[in-house]
């Protein structure tokens, strides 16, 4: 694809602009940051991948409790190791960019929250989600009783068809009402 060169090709650049919500400067910056993550020997591979550990070391993702999920969702790797190509990386940044639509953001948010990749948010997903949100330490964790209560409340609110899980359309329905989501679902390089 020619992205290995330190400079992005011009036509590719304009295509990327067409396909993402990023501006030219942002794409160039993303390319720079991505190239920094690449190890020496990787640079000569046609489509280099950055392993997940390296991506997670970015300060923008370091403190994010969903960082691993984010990598997995955006990775196109066959190995399911969460490694990213440059295009995956652009996909990520585009979905998290400011002008991205609610629709696309909520789609990816759903997939990030769907820990077992089964297409719905079930009890297990929600529990993991709560654990992510409350942090790893014991004093911030919820008790089992609280967790049960919380999850049943959430399902009561958002599980419209009452099948015990939240599916994408239900999720988007909820998210579209949220005033905060679009402004906080953002990552800027």
């Amino acid at each position: 694809m020619g992205t290995t060169a330190s400079q992005l090709r011009k036509d590719l650049l304009s295509e990327y602009q067409e396909l993402t919500f990023l501006t030219k400067q942002e794409i160039i910056l993303a390319h720079k940051r991505f190239s920094e993550l690449l190890s020496k020997e990787d640079r000569n591979v046609p489509t280099p991948r950055v392993p997940m550990e390296k991506v997670l070391s970015l300060p923008e993702l370091k403190s994010n409790p969903f960082r691993k999920r984010i990598c997995h969702v955006f990775s196109t790797s066959d190995m399911k190791d969460g490694s990213l190509t440059f295009e995956d990386f652009l996909d990520l940044l585009s979905a998290f960019s400011d002008p991205a639509t609610l629709e696309i953001k909520s789609h990816y948010a759903f997939r990030i929250f769907d820990f077992d990749d089964d297409g719905t948010l079930d009890g297990g997903d929600l529990e993991k989600l709560v654990n992510c949100l409350t942090g790893e330490t014991d004093d911030t964790r919820l008790t089992t009783e609280e967790m049960r209560q919380l999850i049943s409340n959430i399902l009561e609110e958002s599980d419209i068809d009452k099948d015990g899980t939240v599916n994408l359309s239900e999720f988007q329905h909820v998210i579209s009402r949220s005033p905060d989501f679009v402004s906080s679902f953002k990552i800027v390089l």
Binding site: E15, E18, L19, T20, F21, T23, P59, E60, L61, K62, S63, N64, P65, F66, T76, E87, D88, L90, D91, L102, E103, I104, S106, F113, D114, D117, G119, T120, L126, V130, L133, G135, T137, T140, R141, E146, Q149, L150, I154, E157, S158, I160, D161, D163, N167, L168, S169, F171, Q172, V174, I175, R177, S178, D180, F181, V182, S183, S184, F185, V188
Partner: protein
């Protein structure tokens, strides 16, 4: 070519492979799909889910085209296919160049074939579909080849018939639309890239074929211009984003403190932009012309420091009070001359002054309202709070911008607390032990706050009155404090009162969020009260000055008359030169406008000083002490009492808003004020960024900003309106000073406009203006506006009702779906009755129900049929459920609706065409019968 195609498919399948999709999908259907898809995928065995997903997405793509052809697709399938083939083949023949195009064509063909295959299957509904399709495709290929070879040489654009042209055009338009919306699709980059290339190639190829004869060149030109325009727009956008300052700085703050603190800085930046524009107006249209073309300093009395003040005019203390040379400079109203036109350009300065003064308000209003409208556009309606409290906390509470571990920890803690809080809230829904005590406390608190508000108002009034007395005394006897009492007291009140309110608010025991709102409202009331008291006191002063001015004016006129009569009687001539007095010695009025301007400038400056000092002492010094004394102190300073300061977002935003209010009010009387404010905002950006990063800690309670964004904008609008009032009032009613400012010598300030209309514009415009200002015309106009407001209001209410109705329907539909899935007999009595009445069940394509849960009424309508279709089975067997029939007749496994994430594509599909009902429905419905 086929191998290439295969490759493409393989790639695409790979891409989509990770897309979530229905493993939950009913097995049989998935398998069937796989079987159907396998010939296409060649030897490669994709997962069933994958292929299905792919197909579905293609379906979505195809939707518009389908719509275009649906009319034809009604009756004779096969015939129509032939036709279509012919057409496309011919089209191909016409431009028999380019491998690329061929690839595109192929792709298209393939899609069509696929669709057709589905249709066929739908129609005949057996395994023949597979073979038939393959055969069909083979035939197509052959025919296509033949066609292209035969019509290749004769191919000319003119051979395209009207209808073909139209359809081609439509297709090109579709492709273009697809290109524009491609970024909205949650697909992999590779896939989008490929599709984009295909579409671009297609458009490239066929755009040229469109338009014929004379129109052709024009069309090509138009297309080219459109392309250039797109490119230019994109470049311009890039340029615009490159011009936005402080992106890095704000990002840094964002990652440390989350979106809420950053929102203050974004607001600050927005304010800076606004002020920059205002400054450009003021500077370019008023200040600069006066400096360049007006009379220089010292030429006329208003541009000269009076003799009495001259020896002290350069003292720093005087200059700091904006007296001396400052007072008689372009910074203030009084300096401007009332000559109708100045310079070689005949620039009408007084007119420009008035228009800019009013235009500043107009521009600000426009910008604020536009921003508000845009803000309310995005980010959900937020209307029904409380419906999704838990879900919001769960799904939207993380701030992805946070990149600092400390902030992240705070965020964890705050999220946990909020979870716990809401659980507790839910468990014991408001168990109030002593409601009377609480009520009493709240009343008491409000009483106290009202008292302090009244007190502060009185204090300001008192101080302003006293300052007027001081002004009459000799300046030398006054201490610094006495001179700056007003500003000092106002700043002090702004500093002391908010914490006081906060303390009092503890009595009320409101929920923190409600408490924050009260707090904001109270601070707002305080500022507003103070400002208006200040204004009223100022008005008193102005009136006093007007009295004084009248006497001086009379004295001057009398003196002049005296001089003239003396001169004429002495020299016995009527040709009298003006009195030869040095401009500094001329007696002049108090010029109340300049006085008002000075008050506002002083207020602004003292506000800046107090804000900066507070940051320096309250944040920086505190942080220093906490940081360095911590080594040798009895308790932990960082965790204990003083700790580090938190960034007070609401206070800062309110401060900014009120500062802006003062600028708006004062700008008319002190044109330099806008420039001062630009400087202030500029320094403030750097200073506060530095202060926040170096000495503040993240909020323990992390508030989100977005919700209050429009709230702040609303406050700004209110302040703008409130600052508009006094200025317009003074412009319309108070007479301008007779010897200073651009309007001197006129009865009213707005007379400038009248003069211009009468003297400089053609007569008919004057006439128009007279008619326009006629009450007979204004009253109907106002009436019309009121009616329009009433009408819009009514419509919005209707929409609201419709929304509610839709919501209800949606819930009903979901209930129904759920019940259907559980195979419950009677879901809804009404529906059941209705179904019994319906004679013909196969009229409507039943599969619409499997579409995404209806978000629109269209869908709601569609969801009925499956029920209808299902009923017979149920009715015939009594209670038993005839699965075979159920499936074959339509009712798809409802789970399909759940597992497919049609969501993101839903609306677009909706917008582009009717839910792909028949084709897909039948396609889905058939597989079981193949078993």
């Amino acid at each position: 070519m086929p191998s290439q195609k295969k490759n493409d498919i393989a790639i695409r399948m790979e891409d989509v492979g990770i897309e979530i999709d229905g493993e939950l999908d009913s097995g049989s259907e998935g398998k069937n799909r796989k079987a159907k898809a396998s010939p296409r995928a060649g030897g490669r065995n994709g997962k069933p889910a994958t292929t299905e997903d792919e197909e579905e997405e293609e379906d979505q793509d195809e939707a518009p085209r389908k719509r275009a052809r649906k009319k034809k697709a009604s009756a004779q399938d096969s015939e129509e296919e032939e036709e279509e083939d012919d057409r496309s083949a011919k089209r191909k023949g016409t431009k028999a160049a380019g491998r690329k195009k061929k690839a595109v064509k192929e792709e298209e063909e393939e899609e069509e074939e696929e669709k057709r295959g589905k249709k066929k299957k739908g129609g005949k509904g057996d395994a023949k579909g597979k073979g038939g399709k393959e055969k069909g495709s083979g035939k197509d290929k052959k025919k296509e080849n033949g066609n292209s070879s035969s019509s290749g040489e004769s191919g000319d654009e003119d051979s395209l018939s009207e209808g073909e042209m139209a359809s081609l055009k439509e297709e090109v338009e579709e492709k273009k639309k697809l290109i524009a919306t491609l970024r909205n699709k949650p697909w992999r980059m590779k896939r989008r890239l490929k599709l984009l290339k295909e579409c671009q190639a297609f458009v490239e190829e066929f755009e040229g074929a469109l338009g014929k004869g004379k129109g052709r060149k024009l069309y090509a030109y138009k297309v080219m211009m459109a392309k250039k325009m797109i490119k230019f727009n994109r470049d311009f956008d890039n340029f615009k984003t490159a011009c936005i300052p402080w992106e890095r700085k704000i990002k840094e703050v964002e990652s440390h403190f989350g979106s809420s603190v950053a929102s203050y800085f974004i607001f600050l930046r927005w304010m800076y932009g606004l002020n920059l524009v205002l400054f450009a107006f003021m500077f370019g249209l008023v200040v600069l012309p006066e400096v360049m073309m007006g009379l220089p300093y010292g030429s006329i009395p208003r541009k000269t420091v009076p003799r009495a003040e001259q020896d002290r005019a350069m003292d720093i203390s005087v200059l700091l009070d904006f007296g001396g040379y400052c007072k008689y400079s372009i910074l203030f109203y009084g300096f401007y001359n009332d000559e109708r036109t100045i310079g070689v350009l005949q620039f009408r300065l007084p007119l420009s002054y008035l228009l800019v003064g009013v235009g500043i308000f107009g521009y600000s209003l426009m910008v604020v309202i536009r921003t508000m409208a845009r803000n309310s556009d995005e980010g959900g309606d937020g209307g029904d709070d409380g419906q999704f409290t838990f879900a919001f906390k769960m799904f939207t509470s993380w701030d992805y911008l946070i990149g600092n571990p400390e902030t992240a920890d705070n965020k964890y803690a705050s999220i946990t607390t909020s979870f716990k809080e809401s659980i507790v809230d839910e468990q014991e829904n408001q168990k109030d032990e002593n409601i009377h005590l609480r009520r009493f406390l709240r009343v008491l608190a409000n009483f106290l706050i009202l008292c302090s508000l009244g007190g502060s108002g009185f204090l300001i009034y008192f101080v302003v009155k006293r300052s007027q007395e001081f002004a009459n005394l000799d300046q030398d006897e006054l201490s610094w404090f006495e001179k700056n009492e007003v500003e000092f007291v106002m700043s002090l009140l702004g500093l002391v009162c908010p914490p006081l309110f906060e303390t009092i608010a503890e009595l009320e025991e409101y929920h923190p969020r409600i408490a924050l709102k009260w707090q904001l409202g109270r601070i707002f009331a305080l500022f507003l009260g103070n400002l208006y008291t200040f204004l009223f006191a100022l008005f008193d002063e102005v009136n006093a000055k007007l009295e004084k001015e009248k006497s001086i004016r009379n004295a001057t006129i009398w003196g002049l008359n005296e001089y003239y009569s003396n001169y004429s009687s002495y020299h016995n001539t009527t040709d009298i030169p003006p009195p030869d007095i040095h401009p500094a010695d001329v007696i002049r009025g108090p010029c109340w406008e300049t006085a008002v301007g000075i008050e506002f400038v002083k207020l602004t400056v003292s506000d800046i000083q107090v804000t900066y000092m507070t940051i320096l002492i309250g944040d920086f010094l505190r942080a220093m002490i906490v940081r360095f004394l911590n080594y040798c102190w009895c308790w932990d300073l960082e965790a204990g009492f003083p700790s580090y300061g938190e960034f007070d977002i609401s206070g800062n935003v309110l401060g900014l808003i009120f500062n802006q209010g003062m600028i708006w009010m004062g700008a008319f009387y002190a044109p330099g004020l806008v420039g001062l404010n630009v400087l202030r905002l500029l320094t403030s950006m750097y200073y506060q960024c530095w202060a926040v990063m170096s000495c503040n800690v993240p909020h323990e309670r992390v508030f989100k900003a977005s919700k209050s964004n429009n709230f702040y904008m609303g406050l700004l609008l209110l302040v703008l309106f409130l600052s508009l009032l006094p200025v317009v009032y003074t412009i319309m009613t108070l007479p301008p000073s007779f010897d200073c400012g651009p309007f001197s010598g006129r009865e009213q300030m707005y007379n400038v406009v009248m003069e211009t209309i009468e003297n400089d514009l053609p007569a008919f415009i004057g006439n128009i203006f007279t008619y326009a200002t006629n009450p007979g015309l204004i009253l109907p106009a106002v009436l019309l506006m009121v009616l329009a407001i009433y009408y819009l209001n009514a419509t919005s209410k209707n929409y609201q009702n419709a929304n509610l109705e839709l919501k209800k329907k949606m819930q009903m539909a979901r209930d129904e779906e759920k019940n259907r899935r559980n195979n419950k007999e009677n879901t809804n009595q009404v529906m059941q009755d209705l179904e019994d009445l319906l004679p013909n069940r196969s009229l409507l394509p039943p599969a619409a129900a499997e579409e995404k849960p209806p978000l629109e009424i269209v869908r709601e309508k569609g969801s009925k049929p499956p029920k209808v279709a299902k009923r017979p089975g149920a009715a015939a067997n009594g209670k038993g459920v005839n699965i075979q029939k159920d499936v074959s007749l339509a009712a798809p496994n409802p789970k399909a609706a759940v597992t497919h994430p049609p969501g993101p594509r839903g609306p677009s599909g909706n917008a582009r065409g009717p839910p792909p009902g028949p084709a897909r429905g039948r396609g889905r419905g058939t597989p079981p019968s193949r078993r």
